[in-house]
């Protein structure tokens, strides 16, 4: 916290490039994440083209060789999970919201925050560079299972896999530092009166996500170092010939990989919850149970990882214990979902575009959660493992959190971020197109999976038993292209609103959390006068107050009389 220099003006570089202001850093992440999303969408398009029209020239690209196809699949997963979902959900919203929501001037370690971003930028540069080197980027799947990833002779690739590993290691370092910052900020810099149980749920979820990321990624960092050594120093950690074991990587990977799912899920659920309470004008139902179950779910996420490995050659006696924990993890999430549904009961709903996206998150996530039960059941997984059923399932959960949740967050906090409103009509059009085409892609994909179509095959027409689903695959591809194209509505809305949007009031949605008590956009160091907190963030439609909202910084004395 430096010397209260709220009005100090910096030059362009200090303000936008090497800024240590958490709001600017959040926007830097936003730009980078949305940029990566374009590339992620492009890889999705090429993958879908190849599946629907195998071995024809993809429009705008050309013939997709099998080797290139594997690289596309690998990069799609890597980009979407590590370079879109993680920065968008954690870095953008975590960075922007945590200090504002707790009434702090900035993060606990602003310079470390900037450093996190630039390490992430470096990770991005390394991954991007791998597209342009001879033999192309990594092609061993986003899970990078050795031995395939351990020797170039197996993939036919080159240094792409090394760059992929280096890029992931950098990205993990960046998010570890980011997580340390989030946690310390929330522990130390909360405004007076803002107790732990007056924090907005999204802050709790961001913090839980930071903790489970921090505690799960270590073994994979170690695993990645070992894989780099296998590739470059001739060690044999993952090679059976030298006494190693390929399964070791899978355990280290999924010990991180499954908590990672909840790292991506919780912030999205948090956004959904905040947006729904605001537009339902109703307090979140079962606030404390939601927080407790969030923490329980975070803990449970560490004891379910082997459900990714039922048929991997893992000891079959491990399958049922992990199957039980996996299916039991539905309980905390069911509580959160039921509570949100209960929040909707007796509410007063306005269907703005952020609300539509938040409800979309809810609806889509329920579907994804329910299909997860199939995957979690070890015997069913024998058949559906590594098929498109799994692909459809995790797109239902992750697309809901990352894109529906992410869009809800962007539409909702855009006025606070940029001081202008986004266009409502375009927002609603964007929602309906996204919602319809998303389901158009992924509902049929479950059926394709149940027919047995394997993941990561470039040409289903090579198999007799998959010939019948060709029309379905073509339909999915058409829907996917439309889904990607309908995001243009968002792009137009985003840039138009940025330049020409209606100037936003400080609190356009009449929300209670602290970020809405300062100006839009907030000044450097966030608050002109430091806020004090008197209540929890969900006093919507409090019976005795005149208005149906009551910000956190209103004291008891003024609560009943004053319209905020």
């Amino acid at each position: 916290m430096n010397q209260g220099n709220v009005h100090q003006e910096f030059g362009f570089v200090r303000r936008y490039i090497i800024s240590t202001d958490h709001k600017v850093i959040a926007k830097q992440y936003l730009v980078l994440a949305l940029g990566w999303a374009v590339l992620g969408a492009a890889t999705a398009y090429l993958i879908r083209w190849q599946i629907a029209h195998p071995d024809t020239e993809a429009f705008g690209w050309g013939y997709i060789e099998p080797q290139v196809y594997n690289a596309l699949v690998t990069m799609h997963g890597t980009i979407m999970v590590f370079f879109v979902a993680m920065p968008l959900l954690l870095s953008v919203f975590g960075n922007f919201l945590i200090p504002l929501m707790i009434g702090a001037r900035d993060m606990a370690f602003p310079k470390l925050n900037a450093l996190s971003f630039w390490i992430f930028f470096l990770a991005s540069a390394v991954l991007l560079a791998s597209f342009f080197i001879p033999l192309g980027p990594a092609a061993a799947g986003w899970t990078g299972y050795p031995p395939l990833s351990a020797k170039n002779e197996y993939t036919g690739g080159g240094y792409g896999t090394d760059l992929w590993l280096v890029s992931l290691a950098l990205e993990f370092a960046s998010f570890l530092l980011g997580g340390i910052n989030f946690l310390t900020t929330a522990m130390n810099l909360r405004a007076p009166g803002l107790t732990w149980f007056r924090l907005p749920v999204i802050v709790w979820m961001q913090l839980t996500a930071a903790v489970i990321f921090m505690l799960s990624v270590g073994p994979l960092v170690a695993g990645a170092i070992l894989l780099l050594m296998d590739r470059n120093l001739g060690t044999t950690f993952y090679l059976a010939d030298g006494g190693g074991d390929p399964l070791l990587w899978q355990h280290l990977f999924w010990f991180f990989g499954h908590p990672e799912v909840y790292v991506l899920l919780l912030p999205g659920v948090g956004i959904m919850l905040e947006v729904i309470t605001v537009f339902a004008r109703k307090p979140v139902f079962a606030y404390r149970p939601i927080i407790y179950t969030t923490i329980i779910a975070g803990f449970l996420s560490f004891i379910v990882w082997a459900h990714h490995q039922y048929i991997s050659g893992m000891d079959p006696r491990l399958a049922m214990p992990f199957s039980i924990t996996t299916i039991i993890i539905s309980v905390p999430f069911a509580l959160i979902i039921f509570s949100i549904i209960a929040t909707l009961w007796g509410s007063s709903i306005t269907l703005t575009s952020p609300m539509l996206f938040a409800l979309g998150t809810l609806g889509v996530f329920i579907f994804g959660g329910l299909t997860g039960i199939f995957n979690g059941s070890a015997p069913v997984d024998i058949y559906i493992h590594d098929t498109y059923f799994v692909v459809a399932h995790f797109h239902y959960t992750l697309f809901s959190s990352v894109f529906f949740g992410g869009f809800a967050g962007i539409y909702f906090w855009f006025p606070k971020m940029f001081g202008r409103m986004m266009n409502e009509t375009l927002g609603k059009v964007h929602f309906w197109l996204t919602f319809i085409f998303f389901n158009g892609v992924f509902i049929p994909m479950h059926l394709v999976g149940l027919r047995g179509m394997m993941r990561r095959i470039s040409n289903p027409m090579q198999y007799e038993f998959l010939k019948a689903i060709e029309p379905l695959n073509m339909f999915i591809t058409l829907m996917a292209i439309l889904l990607i194209l309908s995001q243009l509505v968002f792009v137009v809305n985003y840039f138009w609103s940025l330049l020409r949007g209606k100037v936003a009031e400080d609190n356009p949605w009449q929300a209670n959390t602290l970020e809405w008590t300062t100006s839009s956009p907030p000044p450097h160091e966030n608050f002109v006068t430091a806020p004090a907190v008197y209540r929890w963030p969900y006093d919507y439609s409090l019976p005795d107050s005149t208005a149906d909202w009551l910000p956190q910084n209103r004291s008891e004395a003024t609560a009943k009389l004053v319209t905020p």
């Binding site: 916290m1 522990m187 130390n188 073994p219 994979l220 170690a222 070992l226 070791l248």
Partner: protein
Amino acid sequence: MTTQTAAISEMESPVGKNGTWWFLASEIPIFGGLIAAYIVMRLGSAGWSEASSHLNFTVALLNTFLLLTSSMTIVMAHAAVQRAALKRAAHFLGLTILLGLGFLGMKAFEYSTEIGHGFLPSSGIFWSFYYGMTGLHALHVLAGIIVNVVLWSQTVTGSLAQQPHRVELAGLYWHLVDIIWIFLFPLLYLA
């Protein structure tokens, strides 16, 4: 100045200490995962003890002594800087740095004799783990030395007097590196 945070920060640890502990928490699974993998792989197959017997036990014992002592010296530096005895802190920090460099020097000597005897990272699964674990640990020692050198230079300029807690934070990290070695030593050399 920090009126907004005064109410809470009185009850909580200082920012730097919380942040450092979270950082240590994120380091534990990195080495923890590595050690867990080493133990299960070793329990699951034979021949590791034989490979382990080629390691230079004396050097490792000396290194254990150096690192344990350096933990003591850095905590002494902390005690000194707390009562503004900057010169004494500088001596202890300097000693810590020298002990750390001594550790790395011995490690380098150890590596070079092993490689001279033909034991490379590719010489088998034990050697893979040996070089992987000690190498990663040595990098941590190196990072700690760099931090300590920065702090030492701040005793020269005198700026450390305003930031005495920095020695404690550097110490926390340094002790973790020491603790990791406390486990690596028996795992690799004694078992």
